[in-house]
């Protein structure tokens, strides 16, 4: 019954993908049982035609005799999946006593070859050259937006068609880093383009699961650097690099770029784009398309859909967006907020700008004492990004992170799981899921997600987060081994001290704690480490003074990191102030850190075990942990 070649049936706002066996609503999968899928497919294949019940039953259950009630049930399930209520005949019309007809307008998309369109519409793409030493091509593409829209869509459909004969993605996905584009001349006014254009392409390709792409945070260090390809590839653990240059002259912009296979040193694609500055938005789509073509990647229909060019927006809004992205990478969060806000004011329908604004607000709150307002503004911005584009990956990831930090981890996890449905190889999503799981006490699952993230990208959150779940599981050696060596990141040095502390290597622990504090005395974790170091030196009074000071600062800011609060509670407990330990422990649990299995085995909390308040708090944590587990596992 099914179409062996694969195709798409589009009926607003749904798409039925016969290769993936997926029903999508606005690109979001809608769950269907296999029989419901078969029934819907048969209805779509015969849309507009009255199908008798017998005909339908023979098609859906070809080898068995079934009662008519089974068909009625399948029709009912389809209607529910489509959001159609009884009597509402928008999609399926019941013809009493006879059968059913699929009445809505259906478009049957039959893929065609890219050559058919590219030959007609676009100048030939430069053919791959074989060596880095080969002279640069002089061919320049002058694509119009309309042509690119058509080309990308049809190429996507074609790649999807090709996928029918080899459905499996490559066993080892390509790993790619897109390096900041380098300006060919001293041009401070347009310097922002180098990083932000690379970031735009990275974001665009984040949906492609057969490609593991390094995040923008990993490539920002290569701005303005002379690139040693083997060295950079080794640092980023990638087998493919995209490098490029740009030069702007008034309204004219020329970009040259090359895609390099690091191992063979072959250039997989090289191209140049001449375009008017106002058409800058089209560049990210063109480069993304060429990477997919150069790497011969297979795309699912969903990925093809995601890679469709963005609709045209006000060029000024796009420039503000790019400037905001660049400022964010330079850690200038207040100015990034201003730029991204301007972008959203000019173009309120551009989801990436809202996602970027959310990130900038969130970072501003965390690192620049933006306080509670910053988190609220971030949430509003993410809500708007997701309302415009429910599968906007950046918004999903960072909204989930924000929700976890705001004590709403139950809401974060489904967002991240949806992101993994789109791209199961996205390292940052796995890491954030591991982060969320450990808040909820799903420690083994958390460790597995973070390990997966590091397997996909050894550099993910390298100096900004740790595999805490190993520590929480009591596996101290694995935890210590997971930490980067030779780093000057105070957070990581604190965690090394924390691991040694748990192993009762007091001298090593004190050394690391003191170093972390020396490097970054404002970091909350470094201050907790310093307090523990004071306790080890029998200066409990000094430790308690530090901890009280931290508590009041957190209170003033109104922004709480519930996991970090737990560490303050631990330090209070170790320093002998049970009352404060229990107070902060309650705050930590109520603010969303309810890692119950960790709590009951945590040696730093041993002095609290007999306290009635401790028992009450453990009941609270256990209840939420159990509900989380029941709900989401």
């Amino acid at each position: 019954m099914s179409n062996k070649n694969g195709c798409l049936y589009e009926f607003d706002p749904f798409v039925l993908d016969t290769v993936q066996h997926l029903l999508l609503r606005n690109s979001t999968p809608v769950p269907l049982t296999p029989k419901t899928y078969d029934t819907l497919l048969f209805l779509l294949e015969n849309h507009g035609r009255l199908l008798s019940k017998v005909e339908l039953m023979q098609a859906v259950w070809p080898d068995s005799f079934v009662d008519e009630s089974n068909l009625t049930q399948q029709i009912s399930m389809i209607r529910r999946a489509l959001g159609e209520s009884a009597g509402d005949d928008r999609y399926i019309v019941t013809v009493t006593g006879r059968g059913y007809r699929f009445a809505a307008s259906v478009t049957h998309v039959t893929p065609v070859t890219p050559e058919e369109v590219l030959n007609d519409a676009v100048e030939p793409i430069p053919t791959p050259v074989q060596s880095i030493a080969a002279p640069p091509t002089s061919r320049i593409l002058k694509p119009t937006l309309a042509v690119l829209v058509a080309a990308i869509f049809v190429l996507g459909a074609s790649i999807y068609n090709k996928q029918n004969s080899k459905l499996r993605p490559p066993e080892k996905p390509r790993t790619l880093a897109i390096l900041p584009f380098q300006s060919l001349r001293e041009d401070p006014k347009n310097d922002f383009l180098g990083f932000s254009l690379a970031d735009a392409v990275i974001t665009k390709l984040g949906y492609v699961h057969s490609l593991i792409i390094r995040p923008s945070s990993a490539i920002s260090v290569y701005k303005h650097q002379v690139i040693d390809i083997p060295k950079v590839a080794a640092e980023l653990h990638v087998d493919t690099l995209l490098t490029g240059n740009f030069i702007r002259d008034g309204d004219d912009l020329r970009i040259t770029s090359q895609l390099i296979d690091v191992k063979t040193q072959n250039i997989l694609w090289r191209g140049a784009f001449d375009l008017k500055y106002e058409k800058l938005l089209t560049l990210q789509d063109s480069v993304a398309l060429q990477i997919i073509k150069g790497l011969e990647l297979s795309l699912s229909p969903l990925e093809s859909e995601k890679l469709k060019p963005d609709r045209p927006i006000d060029p000024r809004a796009y420039e503000y967006y790019l400037r905001g992205v660049d400022l964010y990478a330079n850690n200038d969060f207040p100015l990034a907020v201003q730029m991204l806000r301007k972008s959203t004011e000019l173009e309120p329908g551009y989801a990436p700008a809202w996602a970027g604004l959310g990130r900038a607000h969130s970072a501003n709150a965390s690192f620049e004492f933006g306080g509670r307002d910053g988190y609220q503004n971030a949430q509003v911005a993410f809500e708007k990004a997701l309302s415009l584009q429910p599968t906007e990956m950046e918004a999903q990831i960072y909204m989930a992170n924000l929700l976890t930090d705001m004590g709403k981890v139950e809401r974060a996890v489904p967002l991240l799981r949806q992101a993994l449905q789109i791209n199961p190889n996205h390292a940052e999503v796995h890491w954030e899921l591991g982060y969320a799981y450990r808040f909820a006490g799903m420690l083994k699952e958390s460790a597995a997600e973070c390990e997966m993230a590091r397997q996909l990208d050894p550099g993910v959150k390298f100096n900004s987060s740790a595999l805490n779940s190993h520590l929480y599981l009591g596996d101290y050696d694995t935890f210590l081994n997971s930490l980067p060596r030779n780093t000057d990141a105070a957070l990581i040095i604190f965690y090394r001290g924390f691991g040694e502390y748990h192993k009762k290597n007091w001298d090593r622990a004190a050394k690391e704690f003191n170093l972390a504090y020396e490097l970054r005395p404002t970091l909350l974790q470094a201050r907790v480490g310093k307090a523990l170091s004071e306790v080890m030196a029998k200066r409990n009074g000094k430790a308690l003074e530090m901890l009280h000071d931290m508590e009041s600062k957190i209170e003033d800011r109104g922004v709480r990191d519930a996991e970090a609060s737990y560490k303050i509670a631990q330090a209070y407990a170790v320093a002998g102030d049970k009352k404060s330990a229990l107070r902060v422990l309650r705050q930590s649990i109520e603010n969303g850190f309810f890692s119950y299995p960790y709590f009951v085995t945590d040696p730093l909390m041993d002095t609290l075990r007999g306290e009635p308040e401790y028992l009450r708090l453990m009941t609270l944590a256990q209840q939420r942990h159990d509900t989380f587990k029941k709900l989401l596992f």
């Binding site: 607003d12 706002p13 606005n26 690109s27 979001t28 769950p31 609709r311 309120p348 329908g349 551009y350 989801a351 609220q376 949430q379 509003v380 809500e383 708007k384 997701l386 309302s387 415009l388 584009q389 429910p390 004590g407 709403k408 981890v409 139950e410 809401r411 489904p414 967002l415 799981r417 949806q418 969303g592 939420r624 509900t627 989380f628 709900l631 989401l632």
Partner: protein, 53 residues
């Protein structure tokens, strides 16, 4: 594309995949938990009900 609409206390009309965002001009405060759950339910098939946080 159809717009994703949530009937909410703040009378927000959330945006649409076609990019034609429509929302109340006073949408400058985050959604309540109930609104968020309804919204995420549309976005990600969030299992409901959720425990209060």
């Amino acid at each position: 594309m159809k717009s994703v609409s949530i009937k909410a206390s703040a009378n927000r009309t959330l945006g649409s995949a076609s990019g034609q965002i429509q929302y109340a001009k006073d949408w400058d405060s985050p959604m309540t938990d109930a609104e968020l759950d309804a919204f995420l339910g549309v976005c990600v098939n969030l299992p409901l009900p959720l425990p209060l946080s």
